[in-house]
Assembly symmetry: C2
Homo-oligomer: 572 residues x 2
């Protein structure tokens, strides 16, 4: 197995390299084709692919993987977790490298997940009277300096716009000929440079200063779905890239209480999304002083657990106090006395990072596993091959009828009616792409009025009645959601350790999967910093769920009296 896997990997890399080489001069016609085409072609011609569906069913198990299948293989988690993550994403065609440092392109399969996240969240925001708006991409550099803490956090690695024009130039070619090119026109330098927004608090609060004058203007709640940039040095698909997509909400309130409640209310929405819809193993809580957002008085967070026991900050909601109101002089006239008070603020966001957390929580060595709520295709109906044209047509018709029935329930369905492709390869492809539920439809199934269903989360195949598909398919999909939830709860259970002593803590650090360490914490920011320097572990949050602290409990890491339960972990 391992030898074959290694050979497969090598083959895959070789094929990819060939495929990526540009120009017909370097690659012969036979080799020159994309991986999709390549796979299909290899599959169609491979001689060891003779075992047909019938034989496969007889054996009652998947056929032994072929060399070609190995070429699409995913590095097992146990072998190399980080490579596994990259492989899963690559094999499901979610992203590709952009020709811009640290940026990824969201391919349709990847973007669809984000689109579905938007579809879930946006109505929730609107129900909370949040209105969508659009603030500018560029922010004057001087704005970033206005909020003292904020500048430290964000005015560093940014894309800076300094010029506004290109000019054509003639460049001497290799053979002495001249060709046209373009370059930055030095005469177009801007007096006041801009940064591409890393986040929009400064420009939002500049505008709120114009819009908010009276208690009647409050609360003001706006959100935008936009791209932002942070010039990250080390990137990882979905989890960290120079450009990414997110939503950022910004609210202003008359009272501290209302703003605090707003920040918590939004975090509840994030918990609903991440835990109920995406099924993530989730730890909602409050950030420590050191981990708080630059400019916030309080940061609430949802921390997700990856299968390798690392934490992922998957969304944050900030209570900003009056920091931005003061920095941008945003006051409102009160109803009661008519005098002026600074407003209270929140900001909050989730990004395409959520997709990374979802992949890390659910996917397996076969590939992507997507929660039904965000899967681009929730159900794939695989119409099986039949040599009799009449029967084949009946199968196709039944597949389309089933699709219509299921679609009418608001479910995203795809019919795979490709011919000349073995069922095993189809199954493998849809598994790799994370489709939550597969329904096979063959001649015998049709006779029995059923389809054979299989959940991406595992378990035996089971029958779905074609006549009751409108109720059975949604139920089956929901059972996938629940299976993911259960699996996540088990992961949380397995990878959360209550730390009673430094020795226990050190022992966890030696474990292959460190996980979340729940510590009766008594330290301060300096202690956190030292701990991170020594161990690489950070304080992820003070979980909202707090058991009572034992009387006289000392902090096992600092020796100081314990104040609060805190979660520590290594994080992405």
């Amino acid at each position: 197995g391992a030898m074959l896997a290694a050979a497969g990997l090598q083959l895959r890399h070789a094929l990819r390299a060939q495929w990526r080489a540009s120009g017909p001069a370097f690659v012969g016609a036979a080799e020159r084709s994309g991986p999709r085409a390549l796979r299909a072609r290899l599959a169609a011609t491979a001689t060891q692919e003779k075992n047909d569906q019938k034989q496969e069913q007889k054996q009652g198990k998947q056929a032994k993987p072929t060399v070609q299948e190995e070429a699409l293989k995913i590095t097992p988690r146990a072998e190399d977790y980080n490579q596994w993550y990259v492989d899963v994403i690559d094999r499901a065609d979610l992203v590709d490298d952009a020709p811009v440092r640290g940026c990824k392109i969201l391919r349709p399969a990847g973007f669809a997940i984000w689109e579905n996240i938007q579809r879930l969240l946006d109505p929730k925001f609107k129900r909370l009277s949040v209105e969508n708006a659009y603030f500018p991409l560029l922010i004057p550099v001087s704005f970033l300096a206005k909020e003292a803490a904020h500048v430290e956090g964000f005015a560093t690695e940014c894309a800076v716009v300094t010029h506004h024009r290109l000019r054509s130039v003639q460049v001497a070619g290799k053979n002495g000929e001249t060709t046209s090119s373009v370059e930055v026109d030095p005469d177009s330098e801007l007096a006041d440079p801009y940064v591409v927004r890393p986040t929009s608090e400064t420009v939002v609060w500049h505008m709120y200063g114009k819009w908010i004058k009276s208690y009647r203007d409050l609360p003001m709640r706006m959100n935008q779905w936009v791209n932002v940039m942070r010039w990250e040095r080390r990137t990882k698909p979905f989890l960290r890239s120079a450009e990414f997509l997110w939503q950022e909400g910004h609210t202003a309130h008359a009272t501290k209480e209302e703003a605090e409640a707003q920040a918590r209310e939004i975090l509840d929405v994030y918990v609903w999304l991440a835990q109920e819809q995406l099924g993530l193993p989730l730890f909602p809580g409050r950030k420590s002083d050191r981990e708080r957002f630059a400019g916030a008085d309080e940061t609430y967070t949802i921390e997700a657990l990856a299968q390798n026991g690392m934490a992922i900050q998957a969304g944050t909601s900030h209570f900003l106090g009056q920091n931005f109101a003061k920095a941008f002089d945003v006051q409102y006239q009160t109803e009661e006395t008519g005098d002026f008070k600074y407003v209270w603020a929140t900001s909050w966001g989730v990004s395409t990072r959520l997709i990374g957390a979802t992949i890390m929580a659910h996917s397996d060595d076969t590939g992507l596993v997507l929660p039904p709520a965000v899967a681009a295709i929730q159900v794939v109906i695989v119409a099986l091959f039949h040599k009799k044209a009449e029967t084949q047509n009946a199968i196709f018709e039944a597949a389309k009828a089933l699709r219509d029935t299921v679609e009418a329930q608001g479910i995203r369905v795809h019919v795979d009616d490709r011919v000349g492709l073995k069922p095993g390869l189809k199954y493998f492809e849809w598994e790799r792409k994370g489709v939550p539920l597969r329904i096979e439809l063959g001649a015998r199934d049709l006779e029995n009025g059923v389809g054979m269903a299989k959940r991406r989360t595992g378990g035996d195949k089971f029958q779905v009645s074609l006549s009751d598909a409108a109720t059975e398919v949604p139920q089956a999909l929901d059972s996938v959601r629940l299976a993911l939830r259960e699996r996540s709860e088990a992961l949380k259970e397995r990878l959360t350790t209550r730390i009673g002593s430094r020795a226990e803590f050190d022992a966890r650090l030696e474990a292959s999967e460190i996980g979340m360490m729940l510590v009766p914490w008594g330290g301060d920011s300096d202690d956190e910093e030292k701990l991170q320097e020594d161990t690489g572990v950070t304080l992820r949050c003070y979980p909202f769920e707090q058991d009572p602290l034992p009387e006289g409990q000392a902090c096992p890491l600092t020796g100081k009296p314990a104040r609060i339960w805190a979660l520590f972990a290594k994080s992405y």
Copy 2:
């Protein structure tokens, strides 16, 4: 009237100036409040506002406008069309100036229109098998030089990213103290600068070169909803700004015919949106060589007419031939022979410009008029005041019940139950904001089981049965859509002139509203250029609808034999 109007305008400007002045040091507490609050306060205290709803109904007409209402007044079109446009947008709170040169902020009321355009268009694209994706914001400068014609069109006025870091500096203040500031870190200069995308053909085609290898990969159809930037010198809200929102579609095809059909198919979708949904006075057609997109073989366009007789290019769909395929070496292996051929391409887009065209087509001297399809609020229910608490509550309850009924029909409804605000002011506000249908609900109406409805497009008030609201309200809304369509057709009729001679052409140029001039055209690009230099008029399109040209017809503008009917106009 004119005196009062002028006084009102002055007052409005003075109030706005006060309101915008920052800092309590310059503005006394009494004056310091937003226009919303200001209006409300003025309205509540003004003595000439004594005539109540009853009296208003007796008179059977709107009360004479007060000085306060004049302060919110909109410059009439006849007086100053361009100021009218700006006023309409301002009074409806659609946009505000961003602190970035040439950029506007889309406030919630403005963004909602775009959101509704997205909601209409996106499913249409998906039905045409177009998938959404996300390509990077930044484009390497060198990419722009790859397609010869494209570089001329786009590699000029761009936002250029040259650095990737800011640094903190200490700046000496006025009083000798030092304060922290930030500036561009000169050590962070990029070896290869980027531009903020003005359009994404180059990066899309770079990626298509990686993704397209075989006939099996075709057709490839992607779209993205994104922000783009072009460093425009002169800006106008919605119609021209440095940053704007749009969708850009990019497709690749095996054959020329398929690509050409795709470009036309998308234009049909744009016509559906602009003509049927937005009700614009529309001229779909083909661009001349001179007006074509930089890098296209053919550009299809929808040209909308403004009420002042100017044209607005409201959407384009390009057949790109093999230009980008060749520039980025995108070839596919054919099924038949296995050899390699360049693919055929299209690109197409509509932007927030559509909103500008919509305002210019429909709005009036009272303010914004929105087509129901894109109005944020389609129906406003104004619950009228009643001094008896019991009756007032019954009115509120009935308003909410009506809202629920109408909402259940998928209609966006708002209940205006503000107290202490005269009905006339409420009506005025919702008219200014372009709500297509208003339903008033008072005690007597309730007794009769009706609401009094009024279309934003004019006509008498009419009764809507509360029990049949589920059918009557959608019908009333659709009648607004039809009224806009009819009005647009009349505008087209009135402002389209068939030009038989140069004298007729010159006479049109002297008209206050030039409109569309249909010319039996025989000129070439040079003639177009000269015509534009002499008259400011450009060739908007060759309309798809072509009457037969009379035998031996000469072009009245060039004297050459006429080839085709062409539309000329001045344009935004």
